[in-house]
Structures are given as C-alpha cells and as structure tokens.
C-alpha cells in the first residue's frame, strides 16, 4: 500500500532491511515467511492513528476525556452523532427520529435491528432509558451533561421520551451526540456490575461498527469490525489507535510511516507548510480550547479593579501568541470559539492592548512598582508566554515572577478543598477544554464555582442569571446575545484577558484515507474512509 522508496528516496526500505537482518541473524530467512505479515499489519485496510493519551475509561456513563470518547464513538451507538465536516451539526445515528415535543420533552424512535454483541439482543428504548438515567442515579461526574433530566418514559420497544425538569438546550449539542449519549445494554451492564454502575474498562458488549478486540496498555488500542453490525459499513477493517503523548514523537512516527493520521503541534505547522511531506494532506481546524490570563480578584494585590485592568491593557496578545504558538494561533475574542453560538466578533480590550492606558490604570490604583507572580503549567508554550508577559508587564512597571508547576500541582492551585494555595494565587495562564456548547464554558465561572474551578473568584449575579437562563433559550440569536453579554461581564471585571483557542491542525496520508473529523479536528474514526486506488 505504501511505497517506502517514495518517502525516503533510498533503495533499501525498512521491510527489506528487517528481512535482511532477520536472514543474516537466523540464516533461515525466505521470502514469504510470516515475518512480513507480523511486522507490517498496515498492509490491510488498517487505520493507524495517534491519540495523545491512552484510554482509561470506556463506560460512557462515567466518561472522562475526549480520547476515551473517540473510542466509544466506534464501539457504541447513540441517538445522534456530530456530522463530519467544518460546520457544527448533528445527524441521526441509532435514532430513526428525534423531536423536541415541547421544551421539556424529547421523543426519540430507535432504528430497528441495532444489535448488541455477545447475544445481548436488539437495542431498545429500555436500554436508552437505563443508559441515560444511570448517569443521574449513580451521581456520575458527568451528570451535568444531562442537566435537568428527570426520567425517560418508554412508550414501546423502540420509542421513548426524555423528560426534563426544565428546558436544556445543550442536550442537543453536547449530550446526545457526545459521550453521555451512548446507549449501553441494560442486561449486559447489570450482569457485570452490582447495580448498573461504572463498568470502567470492561465493556460487556458493543453496539457500534467496531469492537474492542485488543488493548495493550500504553501501546495500542485495536478495534476490529463488529460482525453483528448491520449499519453503514465503515471504511477500515481495523483501527489501531496508538497513544503517543509527545506531539513531536507523533510527528516523527508519522514521518517514519508508523502512523497515518496525527494532529501536529502548532510549532511544527510552519515547517510542514514550507516543506510539505510526501503523500500528505494538512488540514487546519480551529480548536475549542480556550486559553486566558486569569487574575485572582480576591488577592489583596489584585482587589483593585484598576490593577487588573492595568494588567489587561498591558498584555499584547499577538506578541504572546507569536512566542507561545509560533504565530500559528489566532487571537481569541472570548471563551467561546468561532463557529459556536455565543462567539464574539471582538473583545472589549483590543488584542494589542495599550501601554499608556495600562499605566493610567496603575496610577489610578496607586500601584506603581507592583510585584506579582504568575502560575503556569510546565509546558514550553506557557512558560514562553509567561516570559513574554514578564517583559510586557515590565514595560508598565509591574515586576512579574514566574512559578512553573507540574500538572498534579497546577490543577489544584485554586481549589479551596486543596488547602490555602488559592489565597496566594495571583495571575495564572489557564487552558480549558471545551465541548460545542457555550454553556460548558460559562458554567465554570458562576459564583458557586468560586474556589472550585472558578479560580479567579469572579462573581456576578447578572452573569449567573444569564447563565441559568441561556440553557433554556432555543432561539440561537437570542442565546448568542446572552453569551456575548456574559463574556463582556467577565472581561469588564478585569479578571480575564482572553488569548487564543489554539488550533487543531492534522496531517494524514492521502493515499490511504479520507478522514472525517468534527469541525474542531477531533477524529470520528467510524466515518474514515479508505482512499480508492
């Protein structure tokens, strides 16, 4: 399938090299031994893709992290899925129809003949009821995905009605088409768990186009075709997902031909554009992550809003992105990424800031000669941006000290439950993941999140009111305005300077596949297709 000569320009490719080595070592090498089959699994319709971490949870009712959901998307079915492409939207998957009967009732009808493997029978509305309600009943960490779910009524084998206590629009964007929307077999789960709780890494059966056939921890996840699947036939016979934490290693693995699909770091983007790799397509997708500089509004040095505004206006965002992301990331206008409801066209503070204005704010606060410190995660992009920030704040007379922390330490800085460190937190470069609904972002910045995930300790009653109301608004433009206002409130508090949503560029081998991803570049492996010869 892949001609190594074309990529290396040398006459002796890896297979030949290994065969020659094997022959000389063993003295028994002959063409056609199982060796080549054993080493070169990629000869069939095998998709080899990189994931940035190994799977650690396959129960959709208790899912954590997108890389687990990438696998769940292949081995389970749900009512809706994200449509592949560049525009956010959903399509029917296990459902024949899903309709909003009224603001608190959603009726769905399952397609007939979707089978669970291992003899657990056909998927029914009772399975859907069980799958959705167990998330609430077992107080799953992702219970919030189902918001105000009250219960699911089963009308017949295939039809059910999701009953909500109050309207909840994000259900359509982040619940039904994502992790919490997957349907598991009631009978199978009750057999392997005591009371229908978390089955962790041991799925009792599957209902997607693929099954998990092998998992070698920290090495590879192997999905193979589900023989009982009777839906649209997926393109690849097998999917091999290789956990490679370091993006540079992943890029090297791609260049070496070990994988055929990987996201690439923004720091490599310029080089890849300048020197395109053979047989490789590069696609750049906007990511949903949001990165910002946050300020602890309860810290004595930052209590005065003028000090916070001085910091806001002293920050030149494009300069930070130039050093942190090699100029390959766009400036953010808020928390909500382009393409999502609630994305703002521009921030209140211009990207370049204004040093004169910053000095004025500082003078108003009487805080000239101020010394602050910033906590950052031990990744080069954050430490580099912190150093640039140090220089920028230095221009207005603020001395900035940088405190670099490992993930275990960093991710508890602002939590009141983890001691007193939140009191010492001043500035922080923060990066949060996001799903395609604005509710997911704003919900962490309410007053009741202060000391939990709202580390800036920002609190606005107006913000909380809008946040509570916006989940029930079905009119997109009206909902968007509410989220615009929420981000304005955040920015006006002086506690935030939004930096970027980063980016999600990926590369793949054109001769092997036509990938299918969400608009933010997350892979939807079940829709990947084999490139026709």
């Amino acid at each position: 399938m892949k001609d190594m000569k074309s990529t290396t320009g040398l006459s002796l490719d890896r297979r030949q090299f290994l065969k020659a080595g094997a022959a000389s070592a063993a003295g028994v090498m002959a063409y056609g031994l199982p060796l080549s089959q054993a080493i070169w699994a990629a000869q069939g319709k095998v998709l080899r893709a990189r994931s940035y971490a190994d799977i650690n949870k396959l129960d959709p009712g208790f899912y954590q992290n997108a890389y687990n959901v990438d696998v769940m998307n292949c081995i389970y079915s749900k009512l809706l899925h994200y449509q592949p492409g560049t525009q956010w939207g959903t399509e029917l998957q296990a459902a024949e129809s899903v309709e909003q009967v009224d603001p608190t009732h959603i009726r769905f009808r399952l397609k007939k003949g979707i089978m669970f493997t291992d003899g657990y029978g056909e998927m029914t509305a009772e399975d859907a009821k069980f799958s959705f309600e167990r998330i609430i009943e077992h107080n799953s960490p992702i219970a919030g995905d189902w918001g105000p779910l009250d219960h699911v009524e089963v009308e017949d084998d295939y039809t059910g009605v999701i009953v909500l206590k109050s309207p909840f629009v994000p259900l359509w964007n982040i619940t039904l088409p994502y992790g919490a929307g997957h349907i598991v077999s009631k009978k199978a789960v009750l057999e392997v768990t005591e009371n229908g709780g978390d089955f962790g890494m041991k799925p009792p059966c599957f209902s997607g186009p693929y099954v998990l056939s092998d998992w070698r921890p920290n090495q590879v996840v192997i999905l193979t075709r589900n023989p009982e699947w009777n839906g649209p036939k997926p393109g690849f016979d097998e999917i091999h997902i290789l956990p490679i934490g370091d993006p540079k290693t992943a890029e090297t693995a791609y260049r070496a031909g070990d994988i055929d699909f990987t996201h690439v770091s923004l720091s490599s983007l310029e080089q890849i554009k300048a020197e395109p790799l053979p047989d490789t397509a590069l696609e750049e997708r906007p990511s949903l992550y949001y990165v910002y500089v946050g300020m602890n509004t309860d810290h004595p040095k930052l209590k005065d809003i003028n000090v916070r505004r001085a910091v806001q206006w002293a920050i030149n965002v494009p300069q930070l992105l130039e050093v942190g992301y090699f100029g390959q990331a766009d400036v953010a206008t808020g928390m909500i990424a382009p393409g999502l409801v609630g994305h703002r066209d521009q921030a209140l503070v211009p990207p370049e800031g204004d040093l004169e204005k910053a000095r004025q704010y500082l003078a108003e606060a009487g805080a000239e000669g101020l010394t602050l410190h910033i906590d950052v995660l031990n990744e080069s992009k954050f430490t580099t941006m912190a150093e640039m920030l140090q220089a920028q704040l230095g221009q207005v007379g603020i001395t900035l000290e940088i405190d670099v922390q490992d993930p275990g330490s960093f991710w508890t800085i602002g939590m009141e439950s983890e001691g007193q460190r939140w009191k010492d937190m001043q500035l922080i470069i923060q990066r949060f993941s996001m799903v395609p609904d604005p509710y997911y972002a704003t919900t962490f910045f309410t007053c009741d999140q202060v000391g939990e995930w709202n580390w800036e300790r920002f609190c606005s009653k107006r913000f909380d009111k809008l946040n509570a109301e916006a989940v029930a608004i079905t009119d997109e433009s009206k909902r968007a305005k509410m989220y615009h206002e929420m981000q304005d409130i955040m920015e006006n508090s002086g506690a935030y300077r939004f930096l970027t949503h980063e980016g999600a560029p990926y590369i793949y081998r054109e001769s092997i596949m036509t990938p299918a991803t969400r608009p933010d570049g997350r892979p939807l492996y079940r829709f990947y297709d084999v490139t026709s010869a």
Binding site: A38, I142, L242, I244, G245, T249, A253, R255, G408
Partner: protein
C-alpha cells in the same frame, strides 16, 4: 553463603521499605489531588470526597503507609483509581517492556564495551587505543536523549529501516525491530563507560605478579588475557553494572517517552503528573526491588568469579 543471602534479603526488604516510605512522604508533601484529576472539572465536592475516602486519603499518612505495606504482604498493591484495574496487573504488565529494554541495552553495551576495553589495554597507547578512548569518552559525554533523537531521525525517518515508536508484539522480529533503536540509545553511553572501566582494570591486572608469572611460564597470550586477567578485571565492571541498574531505569524513562514505548518509566511519569498515588507506589516498589535484586546478583557474580570475595561472604 546462605547466611549472606538471608542477610541480603533482609537488607533488601529494608531498602525497599525505606525507599517507598520516602517517596510516599515526598509525593504527599507536594500539592496535588488525584480526585480532581480523576473526576475532572465537573466533579462536585461530594464526589471528590468519595474518591478521597475510597483511596484512603483521609487517613493519617503513617496509617496510609502501614496499610500499603500490609496490603503488599497480601499481594495487593491497590487499585488504579482511573481504570479500576489492580495496580499489580498494571505494573507487572509494563515491567517486561522495561526489563527487556534495560537488559538489551546493557547486553549489547557489555558485548561491545568489554572487547574494546580489553583491546585498548592490550594495545596500550597505540593509535587504536587512542581512537577507542576518544570514541568511549564521546559516547559517555553525548546525552542519551540526543542520541535517541538522532538515531530515530536517521534510522526510522530518513532510512526507514526501523520503526519509530511502540514496542511491537506481533512476533519475535517485530518486537526486536522495535527494540533496536531504544536499546541503542540507552546503551550507547554504557559502551564507552564499560570500555574505560575494563581498560583501566585490565592495565592494573596485567601488571600483577601472577600475570607476569604466567607469561614467564610461556602460557599463550590469549589464555593469559581471557582466563587470568579478564576474570579479575571484570569485577569492577560487574559491580558498576549492578549499581547501574538505577541509572538504566532512569534512562528507560526518556527512551519510553521518545520512542512512545510502554514501560515502567512512562507509567511512573504519567502517574506522578496525575498524582495517581497507587500506581506511583506500586511502580517504585517494583523498581526499587529490581535495583536491589540487580546489586545482589552483581555481588553473587563477583563472588563466583573471585575466591577472595567468596571467602568474605
């Protein structure tokens, strides 16, 4: 001998317990909460409290460490709170990859380093001796991760001869092909190190009375070198290799990251980042035990090779 072994066993248990206790204190001294990592941002304080209780994190630290050792004596190293799999299963599942890597690295380094050292000593001050000296010092001086990255670029990316990542597993040749580059990177510094030690030891031994006596009796030079000189000259190398296991375990960490290989190194780095205490404790327990075993084996080999050492046991 048996008394010696019993004494070493007791010492080994004490070392392992001390090392694990020290690490336990250290990881609890730095900030971080596994519950926050496990449950993610949407967890409620009640859910976090549940995880704390489940992991025994609410117990006083001395009680936690005592409980850990008591469980270990029952063969239970705890449960990984992320995947809900037994820690022993996870650690022992990763251990073969690291041991294979370390043994491969040290084997090839020894097979190349000892002859080089011997040859340099025999041909002392010759051009070849000087050349081997330069190569040896260079191999020691170049950081292993630099060697790893360049080996990766040359043999995996440029030449395309060897796979860049992973540990293979589809048969012997697949596993071997995935092992060559990491083992090369981890072992290359040791080639120089072993060559220098063997050379120095050989020069010392070759000047001793019994070697001069052997030459006076007209024994063949090959026999003198390999039978009488090398068996003594090798002793410091064996000791260094035994102690070097700790260094090799550290080197395995970078190799497992750069080559995206499974193994204890990659496991512990990730576990420390996520404050996955059970995995950290289980891994340290196993790696410390490996270190103690390797030093004991080195001592036993020394005893087998040198009657003077044997008598002192």
């Amino acid at each position: 001998m048996w008394f010696y072994l019993a004494r070493r066993l007791l010492l080994a248990v004490a070392i392992v317990m001390l090392a694990v206790t020290l690490l336990f204190v250290m990881i609890h001294a730095v900030p971080g909460d596994p519950a926050a990592v496990i449950l993610g941002p949407r967890a409620t304080p009640e859910q976090i409290a549940q995880i704390h209780e489940k992991m025994g994190l609410d117990d006083p630290l001395p009680l936690q460490i005592v409980n850990f050792f008591v469980d270990v004596t029952r063969g239970d190293m705890g449960t990984d709170v992320f995947t809900q799999r037994p820690v022993s299963q996870i650690v022992l599942g990763q251990m073969p990859y690291t041991i294979t890597l370390i043994l491969s690295a040290i084997t090839w380094a020894t097979l190349v380093g000892i002859p080089l050292g011997c040859y340099s000593a025999i041909r002392r001050n010759s051009l070849i001796d000087k050349f081997v000296g330069v190569i040896s010092v260079s191999a020691i001086a170049i950081p292993s991760f630099v060697m790893a990255i360049y080996a990766l670029l040359i043999f995996a990316v440029w030449l395309g001869w060897l796979p860049a990542i992973g540990a293979g597993g589809d048969g012997f040749w697949d596993t071997l092909s995935h092992l060559i580059l990491p083992a090369f990177a981890v072992g290359v510094g040791w080639v120089g190190y072993i060559a220098r030690i063997v050379r120095a030891s050989m020069l010392e031994v070759l000047g001793e009375t019994h070697i001069r006596m052997a030459r006076a009796f007209g024994l063949p030079e090959r026999r003198i070198v390999f039978r009488y000189a090398l068996t003594l000259a090798i002793l410091p190398t064996v000791t260094v290799l035994g102690v070097g296991m700790a260094h090799l375990l550290s080197a395995a960490v970078f190799a497992e990251v750069v080559f995206a290989r499974p193994g204890l190194g990659a496991l512990i780095v990730h576990a420390v980042d996520t404050r996955n205490y059970p995995i950290v404790m289980g891994t340290v327990l196993v790696t410390t035990a490996l270190f103690v075993i390797s030093t004991t084996v080195a001592d036993l080999i020394n005893a087998a090779l040198d009657p003077r050492v044997r008598e002192g046991l």
